[in-house]
Amino acid sequence: MSKADLATTAGPSVAYRAWLRRERRGRLAVRAAQLALLLVFFVLWEVLPRAHIVNPLFTSYPSALWPTFLELLKTTPQQASILAHTWSTVLATIVGFSAAMLIGTAIAAALWWWQGLYRVLDPYLVVANAMPKTAFVPIFYIWLGATLSIYGMSLAISLFVTILMIYNGFQGTDPNKVKLAQTFGATKWQILAKVVLPGSVPTLIAALKVNVGLSLVGVVVGEFQSASLGLGYLIQYGSQIFKLNIVMTAITILALVSSVMYLAISWLEAAVMRWR
């Protein structure tokens, strides 16, 4: 504990306790509003189709999702369980963003190391990042086959933005910190390992946040084209046979998957920031 932490030894004052109560109430109000919003969404989703204000054929209802989910949970000779579909999508996403982080960081480090390389590649990276990667879905299918094309799309969609973000993070390292290391005679490798990389941890986490979402997009789009497994496949299949229940169930699970991954990264970020 530092000296500053010990400044309040006399116990909290009445005013401070009142302030704490107000703070807590404020936080609870925000949570309540968030829950209420979600509830309103589900209620509207249930009521509007039932009242035939919107066509239930297009939207399904929340109450129809649970029976559909239970139905999809079964494994039949024609159909894998929805758990297998979900796992396939999650796994491809994890592989996609992990690969994007590793390869992206390595490429960013290479660009940092050889500034000339960056100057040559810069316009190509910017264009590659701006390209709609989903345009390559059919080509990836031909090049890489059914499974690899999904991983490939997941990687392709998140790689370039990762490279650009992390490279910018590396470039943003305080030049005086680099100079400090140089005054001790640091090699380029030491500057990378001891100054640039550890200093870019917040950037790495920011890139990871962007990546997780993008990789999931890449996987689902890849699955539309080429998969016989995965939530993207299930959405495609459900819409082809016009069973919106299946589509909506798959989309709801995608929303849950996104939330869980977002929470995991928030937790990681909090842990890292505490450690710093």
Partner: protein, 268 residues
């Protein structure tokens, strides 16, 4: 050969007719021109000049992170080709790494130089404790005040046991009280450890009160405009601490002379 100042000992640091030019697409800039300077072992020299006169560049040359475009920079009589362990450099701010603890920050230099880490950690702990930071070894930099952080930076510089310490306006980021207190501390530490010190500053008072010699650089391109010893008459003949020196009768005389030599023109 230039005459050295202390009992014929060879100079610790010597600059012989050093030029430095920066190249840019807009043209070349002459930062330093024909600088000759020698610093004896254990001497404390201050270099003053207006911003942009190349003071910091001069330190970068001595530390070996920059090479002169003309002339020679020598440390212990040998040309400087790159950073050496003999030279420690204290920058304008502490630049502590926020992802390292205080102790880990203090041993950074030793770690980069591949020194014995057990010894380095012991020495850093000893230095930090001496500077009143013993209970903060495992704290993070952000938990410390500006003055404490700059003391950590001093420990980081001295942990590698350099003979020569370069100080590049090391107190410029601090508030004025901390600045005065730390000037006393740092000067005392460097004198006691017998380090050769070169301080770069634009603060005339800081230069007079800390150094035994003040060198004035002209505006760009920086040249040596004057080089004068600073002496204070004290009963025991010892050099007064910086804070006491500011109250010495000689202080104002030196201040006025150096002020005139700096030719300060307030712009804008």
């Amino acid at each position: 050969m230039q005459p050295s100042r202390q009992g014929g000992a060879p100079p610790k640091v010597e600059l012989r007719d050093v030029d430095l030019r920066y190249f840019g697409l807009e043209g070349e800039t002459e930062a330093l021109k024909g600088i000759s300077l020698s610093v004896a072992p254990g001497e404390f020299v201050a270099i003053i000049g207006q911003s942009g006169c190349g003071k910091s560049t001069l330190l970068s040359l001595i530390s070996g992170i920059l090479q002169p475009t003309g002339g020679a920079v020598l440390v212990d009589g040998r040309p400087v080709t790159g950073p050496t362990r003999k030279v420690g450099y204290m920058l304008q701010q502490d630049y502590l790494f926020e992802w390292r603890t205080i102790l880990e920050n203090a041993v950074l230099g030793a770690e980069i130089q591949g020194a014995d880490m057990v010894k380095a950690r012991a020495r850093a702990t000893q230095l930090l404790t001496r500077y009143g930071l013993g209970q903060f070894l495992h704290h993070r930099p952000r938990q410390l005040s500006g003055g404490m952080r700059q003391r950590v930076a001093l420990a980081r510089t001295l942990c590698t046991e350099p003979d020569i310490v370069l100080l590049d306006e090391p107190f410029s980021a601090l508030d004025s009280q901390t600045r005065l207190a730390l000037a006393d501390e740092v000067t005392e530490i460097l004198r006691r450890e017998g380090k050769t010190a070169i301080l770069v500053t634009h603060d005339i008072g800081e230069a007079i009160s800390m150094a035994e010699r003040v060198v004035v650089l002209s505006r760009r391109p920086g040249r040596v405009k004057s080089d004068r010893p600073i002496r204070f008459a004290t009963p025991d003949g010892a050099r007064p601490a910086p804070f006491a020196a500011r109250n010495a009768p000689e202080f104002n005389g030196y201040f006025n002379t150096l002020w005139q030599e700096l030719e300060v023109h307030v712009e804008g």
